[in-house]
Amino acid sequence: MIRFRVNGKAARAGGSRLRRLSDVLREDLRLTGTKVGCDAGDCGSCSVLVDGVLVNACTVPLGRLEGSEVTTVEGLADGDTLGSLQRSFLHHGAAQCGICTPGMLMAASALLREHPRPSVRQVEDALGGVLCRCTGYRMIVDAVVAASDFEQLAADPPPGKAVGARVVRVDGIPKLTGTDAFGDDAPPPGALLIRVVRSPHHRARFDIGDVEGYVAAHDGVIAVFVAADVPGRNRFGVIPRFVDQPVFAELETRHRGEPVAMVVGDPESISHLDLDRFPIVWHELEPMMSPDDSLAPGAPVLHQGRHQNVLVRGLVQRGALAEAFAGSDAVIEASYSTPSIEHAYIEPEAGHAKRIGDRLEITVTTQTPHLDRTEIAAIMGLDPEAVIIRPSAVGGGFGSKLDLSVQPFLAIAAWHLDRTVRIVYTRPESMMSTTKRHPSQISVRVGATSDGMLTAMEFSGRFDTGAYASWGPTVANRAPVHAGGPYSYQAYRATTVAVHTNQPPSGAFRGFGVPQSAIAQEGIFDELADALGEDRLDFRIKNALTAGRPTLTGQVFESGVGFKECLEVLRPHWDRALYQSAEFDRSHSRRRQGVGVAGMWYGCGNTGLANPSTIKIGVSPAARVVLFQGAVDIGQGANTVMSQICADALGVEIGVIDQIGADTDTTPDAGKTSASRQTFISGNAVFAASLKLRSVLLTMAQASESGRLEFGAGRVLVYDRGEVVEIDLASLDIDDDGLVVVATGSFDPITTGLDENGQGSPYAIYGFGAQMVELVVDLDLGTVELLKITAAHDVGRAVNPTLVEGQIHGGIAQGIGMALMEEYLPGRSENLHDYLIPTFGDVPEIATILIESDDPLGPYGAKGVGEHTLVATAPAILNAIRHAIGVPVRHLPASPGRVLEAIRSR
């Protein structure tokens, strides 16, 4: 037994002296505020203080702790009473999903002991060992710099003033105290552990050996399950026509990391079981690692019926292309490519499950509980009603947690064994087996007349969709709708193809193919503008899509098109930056300062498909508003946004609202947290439900439409025309949910499918944006130093400006990673030191400018913003690099090696 102290209290733990402190804290002491993101010292989310020194708890062995004092996030707050650092985090929007927050807080508290008023640089250095994938770091820096002097959080806005206010995250406190329960934070005691046996090869056939003998020979192993043990359909997917991914491979594995079996057992016995000794014989097959391989004549077909490994093709075309090119004074064409990119949320996939009679209850980190329910029901051969999906707190998703990961394993093991079970992926497991951003190969040709007006664009994109369909069809359809950007052409033609390979499945990742397309389109725009002698910003302004002009699919918006404003508002920044870059270049010989700009648009919601959301709101006998919030908050802030909309629509203070869900047994289906749809679509459903509830309550009080509701002290008062009526809640019947009044609201935006030319109205609204990047390139080393990013986004209406800015910062950080460093290579970069994501040192100052075009369809005029914020960043960086060095980098990432190669090609 090793004896030590944790947060001032005596603690002890036994077992191997090489057990990691993070494991001891979480498993033995149930202090799950210390998070685990990698177990390799790369992410810092397990940062704690040992004897006052900041360490990664995953690399501290238990044997070292004798007599030590350990401080964890649980030691920072007094219950729910936050310290000034935590309040500053809440105020500054420094916690989004919250998975990195405990590590950030521990690093910050170590710094603040030494330097109560730290500089920005000191904060960046001291917190530099903790990775965050949501915030883009700048708000964390602001929070720590201001922490020592931070007084009190602002009071909630008065009734009717919540929308537009910088309301602090309503679910923020648990993220700052370490009590928010993520996927692996609250497994039931005694749960069995699941470990998954995976293919070490990109493509292989296999024979599983003596499983019974294996179980018998290993103490603590209770069962092994393989494909034959899947009770229902051994296939899952996210689009009904493209359900093709097996829970366990049957004959052939199609990507490295694909599951073939799982081992279930007592956690202590199997957590370090050597799965390389699982009885299986592999027969490695020649893999197809790119579309060039899988489209080659004679290439094996990975999925029956998908000729030449083509999953789907996409097409959008309008106008007479040949004529428009013929009438151009300048035509430029080029090819671009982008690599596989990993989501790298800090929370690995995790969850737990139990069987309750003939039902299954699964708690899991997910962006889409209802879709999970449908798929698990099919896999288990159960009715959907027999499956309950309870989302845990989600430590980042960005699209990948739209697909099933651990859910089928939990379901199958819990069902067959009738025991509670748990699973958490290791970082390598998470990286090798979950979806990626589609690698792309894009050719683009664009023309313009000598007066700088665009004529035509032709776009051809080949997307590597990996081993299974996942969201490949969505990418292939969304990309051509967006690939010309928010600009007007005489003619446009975009074709896409999604091709299977033996890469991990490509799926949804913040933008569904639009970021890749924008790199090509915005990149070639700069080349065309230069060829025409046009200022690059002017060129975009001249050609910008405006209200009343058709989009690439022929849709015409009469309002809510704020793109031109986004560009125009950058004008003074652009002029200043160009001047400064010229000045810089005059005084430096081996370094060049560059400025780049890129525009973007993004349709909110599914592409030309039904897209409904339903929200239920009730009143409890204690006079609390209960919001059944099915729009999963993965850090973006849906819980807060929905509360703000609900409060204003009801005309009450935000503080009277409680939230329930998301949970498939309790909350109606609000649809997926994807496609930047929740604020727009579920926000409208909240708005509708709130108005209905308000109307019901006013009617009960026989008040007019102008009546005012007041909730508090166990009663609802209605003020109207100088009178006050109390609604007698005690006299009302209580329903199964414990509510006395209930209303539901639904919203489904009106869209149309695309016709054979890809024409139609695929989205009810688009968001727009433009970002400007200033950077310096070292001409001898090819290294890029970002100086500043200025981002203007048309968000319709900012329901919560702090949350919107948080989305902008976070999207920019991911865009920086995409532009400069990220490339996923199966078998090579399956951890967070070989796969690099931006750190504190990589995200520069960000200035945000919110354009509020007041969309006629959005709740209070609001549009979605989640994915929009990433799209323009990488192209703006690449355009700034080209401005600095005079030649384009068209293949990502623009690593020092690639940039140097471009410089030397001049």
Partner: protein, 267 residues
């Protein structure tokens, strides 16, 4: 697994003599990761954190257990510069220079400095007592050293010579927690200039031809500095991997060497 907590070097090497397979554990930044991810399942471990001797440092030797956060304030300028680029504050608080030497990764941030200074690695065993192995004989391949199964690393031993100037720099693909694609140290000592590099060969290396060329110059001209960079680039033996290419590493090695030389010249 059995665990021996050594109080001094004698205990540590006695334990190692009995258990040639044992792993030494100091900061844990390498060993714990391998254990956590099941890449390595050591049968026995010898803990070194309580060996006071390993924590000591002075002008002539740096104990193997000295952590990077202490080396950030080391009087040797290039070593301090290198220390500041090691991992993160958490890694620097735990990781030691002895661990860097023992792991012998081509990207080890402290190794180019050891090569530049012509430092030796002091090792100890029950059988042979203490001996100092010249760095060039200690590092024999990628993550391979000449350390015998019964030996432990006790110190980095510095030659008794005045270092007049020393500079470190590295290049990587991001700005914090970055594994180097190239690292370089240039030092000026009484006998002339030295240039050492990391991540461009299986082991840390010196570019001796570049040194020789430079040491023939009394006061290096811009042309000589450029030639120095060219020779360094010609002499390194990098590979292409997922972090960078052979061509980039070669080029960047020359650029860094030239820049660091200029800094040494102006100091």
């Amino acid at each position: 697994m059995d665990f021996v907590r050594a109080k001094d070097v004698a205990e540590a090497i006695a334990a190692k003599a009995e258990r040639p397979d044992a792993e030494f554990l100091a900061g844990g930044t390498d060993l714990m990761v391998a254990v956590n991810l099941d890449d390595h399942r050591p049968q026995s471990v010898i803990g070194l954190r309580h060996v006071a001797e390993l924590q000591q440092m002075d002008d002539t030797r740096i104990g193997a257990g000295v952590t990077w956060d202490r080396l950030e304030r080391a009087p040797q300028r290039a070593l301090a510069q290198a220390a500041r680029t090691v991992g993160s504050p958490q890694i620097r608080a735990a990781g030691t220079i002895g661990g860097n030497v023992g792991t012998a990764s081509p990207a080890g941030d402290g190794l180019a400095w050891i090569a530049a200074l012509d430092a030796g690695i002091e090792v100890a065993s029950v059988e042979r007592g203490r001996r100092i192995v010249p760095w060039a004989e200690f590092f024999v391949g990628v993550k391979r050293t000449s350390l015998a199964a019964d030996e432990m690393i006790t110190a980095v031993v510095l030659p008794d010579e005045q270092i007049e100037a020393q500079e470190f720099a590295k290049v990587g693909s991001r700005n914090t927690m970055v594994i180097s694609t190239v690292s370089c140290v240039v030092a000026r000592v009484g006998s002339g200039y030295r240039v050492a590099l990391g991540s461009v060969a299986p082991t840390p290396m010196r570019a001796f031809q570049a040194e020789e060329m430079l040491n023939d110059e009394t006061s290096p001209s811009p042309a000589a500095i450029a030639e120095f960079g060219r020779l360094v680039a010609a002499e390194v033996r990098p590979i292409t991997d997922h972090r960078s290419t052979e061509a980039y590493r070669r080029h960047a090695a020359g650029v860094l060497a030239g820049r660091l030389l200029e800094r040494c010249l102006s100091s």
